[in-house]
């Protein structure tokens, strides 16, 4: 009895490009859809205080953001507006006043992003500048507190 061994078809080991392209395009679509262009307006070195009571603002227009970074070893703050470093917090008053006039937004407000370790004596100086600029509304920026 002769057994006929059928010659096995040679399997082609070529890379299948079709499914690979499908996966790659799916990944691209995901990253394109989740990414947004965000201008660098805030400092990433500020560790915000945590709380459960903060309110999420949907309308981010009409805001003047002041960052206060903190260096514990030197016991000194760094005041920033965007990437601009402000030496004297009193210099913020004319900047805030000008921004308020240019904004023409009735809900113009100052957002203070102070590091959680900043002592009140330094925060107070920024608040004094805000009061000198005659801006009544001010907000402290926080993050969701981890349990």
């Amino acid at each position: 009895m002769k057994k006929k061994w059928l010659a096995e078809d040679e399997e082609s080991c070529a890379l299948q490009m079709g499914p690979m392209m499908d996966c790659v395009f799916l990944l691209i679509l995901y990253f394109v859809s989740v990414s947004t262009i965000d201008m660098v307006r805030i400092s990433k070195d500020v560790h915000l205080p945590g709380t459960h009571q903060g309110i999420v603002e949907k309308d981010e227009s009409g805001r003047f953001i002041v960052d206060i970074e903190w260096t514990e070893s030197l016991y000194e703050p760094t005041y920033k507006v965007g990437v601009l470093v402000v030496r004297d917090p009193l210099d913020l008053a004319p900047m805030i006043e000008k921004s308020a006039k240019l904004s023409k937004n009735a809900s113009f407000r100052v957002v203070l992003r102070a590091d959680r370790r900043v002592p009140y004596e330094f925060t107070q100086q920024v608040m004094a500048a805000v009061a000198a600029a005659n801006v009544p509304n001010m907000m402290f920026s926080t993050v969701e507190k981890e349990n």
Partner: protein, 140 residues
């Protein structure tokens, strides 16, 4: 004269360069994407912008924070230094809000060395109690 037969050109989509472009785009978006932490806000009113004082305004509540982080409401202790949620303060504020509504003025008076986190804890307690008329003590 012999005319060479034009060879039929095969029109196929070149996958190699297409994959290169696709991978480059993918790498760009992967490298540029960052996880954004959502920020929340606690609002307050600045001193010096008060409207004409209404005669019917109740007496203001002064929340003092000493350098140890202890919280006092009109000189009565309402929160220890390690008390983050300040339930006693919240209860007292709610009581005043229930009596006088949104008009109840609350003034926060921290000592100079009090850290921002402690101030936010007190602000959060005020927000939880429903305080609307909130401001900071203005040093002269």
């Amino acid at each position: 004269m012999k005319f060479r037969e034009e060879k039929d050109e095969v029109c196929e989509l070149q996958m190699g360069p297409m994959m290169d472009c696709t991978f480059l785009l993918l790498l760009y978006f992967m490298a540029s994407s960052q996880i954004k932490i959502e920020e929340k806000y606690l609002g307050l009113m600045m001193p010096g912008n008060a409207t004409a004082a209404a005669k019917s305004l109740p007496a203001e509540l002064t929340l003092a924070i000493n350098e140890n982080g202890q919280v006092f409401c009109n000189q009565q202790p309402v929160g220890a230094a390690d008390d983050k949620l300040l339930p006693l303060l919240q209860a007292k504020l709610k009581q005043c809000i229930d009596l006088f509504g949104d008009k109840q003025p609350v003034v926060i008076h921290p000592q100079p060395k009090v850290r921002q986190q402690r101030i936010v804890d007190v602000l959060a307690a005020c927000a939880s109690a429903g305080v609307k008329n909130l401001s900071f003590f203005a040093n002269q």
